[in-house]
């Protein structure tokens, strides 16, 4: 399944785009998504342990299974307020 991943802040700067399309197996977990992102964009390696993933605007853990059409985002450490 093709997942579109929204990128923000420093992650977006490192990749050079505010979204990327990633081909993943059906029923792929967030852990697989992250591994694939790091392989595709090795400049993100340092952020692997500190980013969170949001699916449909909620934080999820690495075991979460994605579905086609999910809204997925990589959330680097936030700094609002």
């Amino acid at each position: 399944m093709m997942i579109t991943v929204k990128l923000f802040a420093i992650i977006r700067d490192k990749v050079g785009s505010d979204s990327v399309k990633i081909e993943l197996p059906e029923c792929a977990s967030v852990a697989v998504l992250l591994e694939t992102l790091i392989l595709t964009y090795p400049q993100l390696t340092d952020w692997k342990e500190v980013v969170r993933i949001a699916v449909n605007r909620e934080y999820v853990d690495k075991n979460h299974i994605m579905k086609p059409g999910d809204e997925v985002a990589v959330i680097p450490p936030v700094s609002g307020g």
């Binding site: 929204k6 923000f8 802040a9 420093i10 700067d13 967030v30 852990a31 992250l34 342990e49 500190v50 980013v51 969170r52 993933i53 949001a54 605007r57 909620e58 934080y59 999820v60 853990d61 690495k62 985002a73 959330i75 680097p76 450490p77 936030v78 700094s79 609002g80 307020g81």
Partner: protein
Amino acid sequence: MIEIVNTSINVERVIDSVASPSAGAIDIFIGTTRNNSGGENVLYLEYEVYQDMALETINKLINEAYATWNLCKVSFVHRVGRVDIGEASIVIAVSSPHRKEAFEACRFLIDNVKKTVPIWKKEYFDDDYNWVEGEQNKKGDGV
């Protein structure tokens, strides 16, 4: 009121929005742009937001505040884009019958905005910039 804006925040309007005849207290937090960070001179900040998720996350935090404390009203405004020195980037106002709850709820909201709401600030220095990476739960939370 719960808003994300890209212009100067009208603080008085935020205060007025939580006024209530049953309130004995209004607590307000205003976050402003400081002129220094890590020993360096900051020229201005620039905020970025994942808008839809930010609004949902803020609403959840406010609902949690209402469920935890006896409050009258809560208002929240965050500014995004460029925020110059001394200007407000965030205003949180809480009204309650007694001051204890207003203080505690307001503190809870700003502390948790800084941990969970998908908003990021970029510091601009004389000849460089830096994305601020805030403190958040790293182990056992999220991925």
